[in-house]
Subunit: 293 residues, 2 copies
């Protein structure tokens, strides 16, 4: 049980974390701060936070648990702003989709207090941003990846694991490098492809007419293209090297399909589709743990 959560960024992720902690009775008090005072006030009105703090530093003062749920690009400034409010017993986490850049920001911003920081990435979200869409169940059954670094105190990794398990998530630990290369493959690249697919479509003169004919396959394939532009700008910039590497692998696979179509090699084309179909049919969300199998 934590005395006080200092929440920096009262949006969908931060707000859901606060609600999930409250639901699990893991926190007594949530003090929140958002860059926009109206967001902080809305979070208070909705009962997501108990107290609205006028600054990030004041939200953190007296907190034994701190969550940064701000755009990744704002991490360094936020770490700097809260450094002097962090006590020896404070556990600090983020929720960023990329870890290398957030860790670099933490090194610069937290300096001697880096031991308190456990980088975290909850694999959860929605297309709808904002505290209005926050919900206590957002992390239920979802994976959370922790990427501790050398200075991270082992006791804090343990506490972080307990907190996320306490709000219903399954916790995995890996290096920041392994995290960023894996998520370039399974998350960042699909977003990039979905963005490019939609723009490639709508830039055609008949784009709007085509869209009227789109069905359920299109709906699911392109859902992630509706994601938040600021967040995804940051993700693609922060992890550009790995994403470009994945995009290269993708383009090679696409090229293979195209040359089979051009050659009219129906048999090899069917084999290539069958390989993809088998791989995808054999995959299940959360299949890495027995509980979800």
């Amino acid at each position: 049980m934590f005395e006080q959560l200092g929440l920096i960024g009262c949006g969908l992720m931060g707000g859901s974390f606060a609600l999930a902690l409250k639901r699990a009775k893991l926190v007594k008090r949530v003090v929140g701060y958002s860059k926009s005072p109206s967001t902080t006030e809305r979070a208070r009105q909705l009962g997501v936070i108990d107290v609205a703090a006028p600054s990030a530093l004041l939200a953190v003062s007296g907190a034994d648990l701190v969550l940064l749920a701000v755009p990744v690009a704002a991490s360094e400034g936020t770490f700097k702003a809260i450094r002097h409010g962090i006590g020896a017993q404070t556990l600090v986490m983020d929720v960023g989709s990329t870890k290398g850049d957030v860790i670099a920001a933490a090194r610069l911003g937290l300096q001697g207090k880096l031991g308190c920081f456990v980088p975290a990435h909850p694999i959860a979200g929605k297309e709808l941003a904002g505290v209005e869409h926050a919900e206590a169940s957002l992390f239920d059954g979802r994976q959370v990846v922790l990427t501790p670094i050398k200075p991270t105190l082992r006791s804090n990794v343990q506490r972080a694991t307990q907190v996320w398990a306490g709000v219903g998530a399954r916790v995995t630990t890996m290096t920041p490098e392994a995290h960023d290369s894996a998520f370039a493959a399974v998350s960042h690249l699909p977003h990039l492809l979905a963005f490019a697919f939609i723009n490639g479509l709508t830039e055609q003169p008949e784009g709007a007419a085509f869209l009227e004919l789109a069905g359920p396959g299109f709906r699911d394939f392109s859902r992630i293209a509706a994601a938040d532009p600021t967040m995804w700008r940051d993700v693609l910039m922060a992890n550009s090297e790995q994403v470009l590497r994945q995009s290269h692998a993708f383009r090679q696979a696409l090229q293979q399909f195209e040359s089979l179509m051009i050659k009219g090699d129906a048999q090899a084309l069917e084999q290539a589709i069958a390989a993809a179909s088998r791989s995808r049919a054999g995959w299940q969300l959360g299949s890495s743990t027995e509980s979800d199998a």
Copy 2:
């Protein structure tokens, strides 16, 4: 009300059409034929068809409604096989995802009886093939595109419209050429990209490990990669020219994103993502009719 549906191909689509017609009380008797006798027999056992015919020709004899629900590549042979069973009052339809090639097959196969044929493409389906997954509600609220050609009797277009509306679908009419270019953009290309994405991923040494971390975004984006290899081989081969054209437009859009990432132009990258996000957020399944808006 039809006297007899002659169903050629008792799989997911054909079976669902038979069940939907029965549910709507639009048919008295369904005579079915599949290439594999065990499929025909299973369809009979499941009550999808009433009588199992030993040949396509015998399934069609005496039918006033015929549905071809066979792999697109088998169309010409099927049309030839049933030609002599088609009467002056018979309405013949298919369910193919591509129309140019089915129409070419019909010209060769049906010859003088081409007036009876109304090419149809129901925008419905599942990843699970087979008559076991057939369901009467498969076409509820879904779009069906009819692509009549010059020889098609107007009265048959009218009857086809009534049948599909009767099983719950919304009917649109367009030229085969417009159909094939639109579906290359909104259906065939996404499938091609999803196949290439999965193969590009699984061909990497860490592919399996990456897949364990994949979340809901991956799940939806790649769902269509699990589609039926034979069917999609036929679709991509039959409509390869249009699909390659769409793939080219896609690769250009992807290239634009990549160069913004390489240049580090965060502002332009955000604008490109925002354009995609707005387009996708503004789209809704079935938004082309008021009833679904």
